[in-house]
Structure formats: C-alpha cells, structure tokens
C-alpha cells in the first residue's frame, strides 16, 4: 500500500504541474495580452504599459510561470486588479463559505444515498424500491438552480423558515451560518444524492447476482450477513468513482447555486472576476478548484486500493 501511495503521489505532482501549465497557457492566449484584455479597448497606452509592468508581462513567459508557481507554493497569489488586495486574502475569505458548503452537500449526499441505495437494492421490486426509484428519478432530473429557486419561493418567501439568500458570516454563530448554508447545500445535494443512490443500488444488484453471494448464502449466511461481509465492499468500487466525480460537480455547482442564494463564496468570486476581466483572480481560483479536484481524485484512487487489494497488487 505504501509503494502504491508513493507512486500515486508522484503522478499527483505531475498532474498538478501540467494543470498549472494548461491554466497559465489559457491566460496567455487571451486576445492581445492580459493587460490590454483586462483594461478593455478604450484603455490609454500608458495605463496598459503600467499594468504590463505591474503584472511583469515584460518578462519572458517561462520566468513568469516560475514566478507564478513559486507564488502559489508560498501562498502569494498576486494582487487582484479590481479588489486591489492580495488574492490569497480574498480567496481564504471566500473559501470559508464554499468549502463548508461543498462538504455539507457531500455529507448530505452520502448520508442519504447509501442507506437509500442499499434499501432499494435489497428490496428489489418492493414498494420501497419503486418509491426510491421514482423519487431519485425526479431528483436526477431537476435542474438544481431551478430547485433552489423553488425552495426559496416555498421556504424563504412563503414559509419564512430560512432567509432567501446571503451569508451572516461565521462570527454570527455556527448555527446561523449553517442555517444560511442549508438550502444551498440541499439544492446541491439533491441531484447528487439521487445519482449516488441509483449507482449504489445498481452496483449492489450487480454484486448480489454474483456466484460468491450464492455460495455465501448456501454456506448458511443470512441475506444481511452476505450483504455486509461480501456484497457491500465489492459494490463500492463504482460508487467511489461516482463520489470522486461528484466532488467536482459540487464545486462547479456551487458557482451557480452561490449565485442563486447570493452567497459570497469562491464560485461567486470567479464569476464576478470573469465579468470584471480580473485574470489574476480567475487564474488563481481556477487553479485552486483544479487543485482540489486533483487531490480528491488522488484520495479516491487510494480508497480503491484500500477497498480492492487486487488493484494495488500490480501497481
């Protein structure tokens, strides 16, 4: 397992380097150069020249790349052109909302999907199974921003149980902050929980029809024992794949949901930065999100190896 981990760690670093190169290259190919792009077509030449100087655009690209990456490593992301403050400060401030939101939504997803999926698979064809399948069909099909909008209408405008949007900050108390994140987290989690419950059910059904389950039952194990000892672990591989995929959906989904609920998170920041052409912020936020997804992928791969020892044997 240690050898496998070390090997995966090496490719993790390689992925990060290549991802940073791709993002850096994307920003490099904007029409004109980043300075004139950020300032727009009506900018005075001396203003553009000043910004070029500030951004270090007069240096060769490889020097700028090395400077940018060393900055990322040491936590210096540069200065935002529109906010006029260090990007790292803005990002940390926004991350304090987006990260708990993603974790909250992912926890809701797993907490709902696992028991529901297992229940449906073990009672295949029953009324429970049919209800679960019908509900998750709807959950998968609802656009989460539309669902968010409907929840605002019902729970904020009509029932007044929650505020329609905004975030009081963590200083306002843990409960108040969690309450503000509840509707957004449900909106983010609903489609993901529905997908995961269906994958869990489908994967478990595949496993339950295997010969070794029949053998286990023939040995005298009850259905529940066979499920716990043999079926669940084997059914987890596709489920883990989907959880890994879902994390990036949650991060990306947050960009949209944060806009519906006016949450000042990372998603809203990147969207504002796009419209304000603040390339430094876009570059940094995209890199952070990409970094997060790569790390999660790495953890999912380790989880694979943990769940299925055959997969690490030949690594």
């Amino acid at each position: 397992m240690l050898r496998y981990t070390v090997k995966r760690l090496g490719s993790l670093l390689a992925s990060l380097v290549v991802a940073s190169l791709v993002i850096f290259a994307c920003i490099e190919v904007v029409p004109g150069d980043p300075a004139s792009f950020m300032l727009g077509i009506n900018a005075q030449p001396d203003t553009v020249a000043a910004l070029r100087d500030e951004l270090g655009l007069n240096r060769p690209p490889h020097e700028r790349y090395v400077a940018w990456v060393s900055g990322l490593v040491t936590g210096d992301f540069g200065t935002s052109y529109t906010y006029r403050s260090p990007v790292s400060e803005i990002v940390v401030e926004r991350l304090a909302i987006s990260l708990p939101l993603a974790i909250y939504a992912l926890s809701l997803t797993i907490l709902v999907a696992f028991p529901v999926g297992i229940l449906a698979a073990t009672r295949r064809g029953s009324l429970t199974d049919i209800s679960v399948m019908a509900t998750t069909q709807l959950g998968v099909a609802i656009p989460n921003f539309w669902f968010a909008l409907l929840m605002v209408l019902v729970f904020a405008v009509n029932l007044r149980w929650f505020s329609a949007g905004g975030f009081p900050g963590w200083d306002a108390g843990f409960l108040a902050a969690v309450k503000a994140l509840t509707l957004p987290a449900i909106a983010l989690a609903l489609p993901q929980a529905s997908i995961l419950a269906r994958v869990m059910r489908s994967s478990l059904l595949d496993t339950l029809s295997e010969d070794y389950i029949r053998t286990a039952r023939a040995k005298g194990l009850t259905g529940r024992q066979a499920l716990r000892r043999h079926a669940l672990r084997n059914a987890l591989i596709p489920v883990l794949t989907i959880i890994g995929l879902q994390f990036s959906f949650l991060l990306a989904g947050a960009i949209i949901i944060e806009n519906v609920f006016f949450l000042p998170g990372l998603g809203r920041l990147v969207f504002q930065a796009i419209s304000q052409r603040d390339l430094i912020v876009v570059e940094s936020v995209v890199m952070i999100l990409v970094f997060a997804v790569i790390i999660v992928n790495f953890l999912v791969d380790l989880a694979y190896a943990w769940v299925d020892p055959r997969l690490r044997s030949r690594a």
Partner: protein, 282 residues
C-alpha cells in the same frame, strides 16, 4: 433472446415506454419547431407581456410578450443537440481510452491515459466553459466543447474501473491462454460486460448534458439571446417569479420531463438488456 421477444419485452417495460414517449414528445417538438411554432419567437409584443397561460398562449408569455410554448419548442433544439454531441464526444473518446488503460494496467500507457484523464477531469465543465468564455466569449459551441471534454474522463474512468475487476476473472485468463490479444479480449469479453454500465452512465451523462447546457445558459455562458434556451428562460424568470411564476415553471418542467424521459428509457433498456439483473434473486 430473439429480436421479436426483445421487442415484446420492450413494449411490456413501463419505464421504457413512458421514457421514450416523454423524450419523443420533446424531440418531436424540437423537430416541429424547425418548420413551425405557434408564434414567432423573435417577435416582441410588449402589449401582451407576462400573460398567464390561456387558450391563446397555452404556456403564457414572457416579459417581452413572446409565446413561452414556442420558445420551449425552439429551446428543445438547443438542449438536445448540445447533449447528443457532448455524449458522443465523451463516449467516442472515453470508452476506448478506458479499455486500453485497463488492458495495459500499470503500464506507461495506463499511467498516461489516467493522468491525462485526471487532468481533464480536474476541470469541471463549468470551469472549462468559464475559461473558454474568458478567452473567446460565450456561445453554444463553447457549451458543447465544455460538456463534451468533461464527458471524456467520465467514460474513460468508468470503463477502466469496471474493466479492471473483469480482467482478474478466470474466463479472461482462459481467453489469454487461448492466445487472444488484449484488443480482442477488450472487444469480445470486456466491452459486453461493461456495456450496461455504459448505457446507464450514458443516459446520466445525456441528462447531465441537458442540465449542464441549461446551467451554462442560465449563467450566460451558453446560447446567447435572442436564441431561446431553457436555461436562459429560467434566468429571465428569476426576478419576475413573484408576479409571473409561469415563466419559471414551464421551462423548468421542460428540462425535468426531458431528463426524466431519457433516464426512464435508459433504466428500461438496462433492465431489458442485462440478463443477470432480469434473473437476479430479489
């Protein structure tokens, strides 16, 4: 199962029939809109704006007085086209990559494909769309490229993940002993065993494609006005939801029902095609 028996079983599958009918209704609406819509979707009629559903305008009108039913019909074209092309890109590139990676597990090829996948996968479709939009500006093509690129690692990882345990099976060992090469084993033994998983994922990605297109249009990164799109219609409805809820309801239900139809059809297909599931003990 013979073709005729399969066809009869298909007609008996409630999921398949209902799903196909729902999906077909929107596909027909989209096709019909190429030739005819109840009203011209580019025609503004401020005098009749924000009208509730009635005999004249079945789904009501929007803030510019445009007929919402006509806009939903034209919007279906965009949604379906974007999703089909995006899933095609994902499957066409992702599945062969996943099969190759599994066949050569632990090799440089596997490592390269999987790390390439990680890299692409690390950019959610919204981030790809954001980066493309930053550089080239928003358009429907951006949405197709962004969703399509994101689908590639989804299919590649899923195929590899499902193929790996199959490669450890005894019947694969016998196939290797009998002299079959990795390509033949992948095509003859691995692919048929992962097809059902791919169908289920294919329908999920198709519906996700429709949802992603709606989301991208909702935040202004996809189809641009005046071309109607379901996501754009929902964005327009947001500030008017208290006085004209029908503006939000109909496009939302259009997305919901299309995606629901596709998923039901996929589910029905899965139950129909997988004998292990069909005969599995309850």
């Amino acid at each position: 199962m013979t073709e005729e028996a399969l066809f009869r079983a298909a007609l008996r599958s409630r999921n398949l029939v209902v799903g196909n009918l729902l999906a077909a209704a929107f596909a027909i609406g989209a096709l019909l809109s190429l030739f005819w819509t109840p009203y011209d979707v580019t025609e503004l009629a401020i005098a009749t704006r924000l009208q509730a559903p009635s005999a004249i305008h079945w789904f009501g009108t929007d803030h510019f007085g445009r007929d919402i039913l006509s806009m939903i019909m034209v919007g279906a074209q965009t949604s379906i086209a974007v999703a089909i092309v995006a899933v095609g890109i994902g499957m066409g590139v992702g599945v062969p990559l996943g099969l190759a990676a599994a066949a050569r597990r632990g090799s440089l090829l596997d490592e390269t494909i999987m790390r390439g996948n990680d890299l692409v996968f690390a950019f959610p479709s919204l981030l790809i769309a954001i980066m493309i939009t930053t550089v080239f500006g928003p358009s429907a093509l951006n949405a197709i490229i962004a969703i399509g690129i994101f689908n590639i690692p989804v299919f590649a990882r899923l195929t590899r993940g499902a193929a790996l345990p199959i490669w450890t099976r005894d019947y694969i060992l016998s196939a290797r002993v009998s002299g079959k090469g990795p390509v033949r084993i992948s095509v003859e033994h691995i692919l048929p065993n992962v097809t059902n998983l791919l169908i289920v994922q294919g329908t999920i990605q198709f519906s996700l494609g429709i949802l992603a297109e709606a989301a991208l249009s909702y935040v202004g990164l996809g189809v641009q006005p005046p071309t109607p799109s379901w996501g754009r219609m929902l964005a327009d409805s947001q500030t008017l939801i208290a006085i004209a809820p029908h503006m939000a309801m109909f496009p939302g239900f259009a997305i919901l029902l299309t995606v629901l139809g596709l998923n039901l059809a996929g589910d029905g297909l899965r139950d129909l095609l997988d004998p292990r599931i069909r005969n599995a003990p309850p």
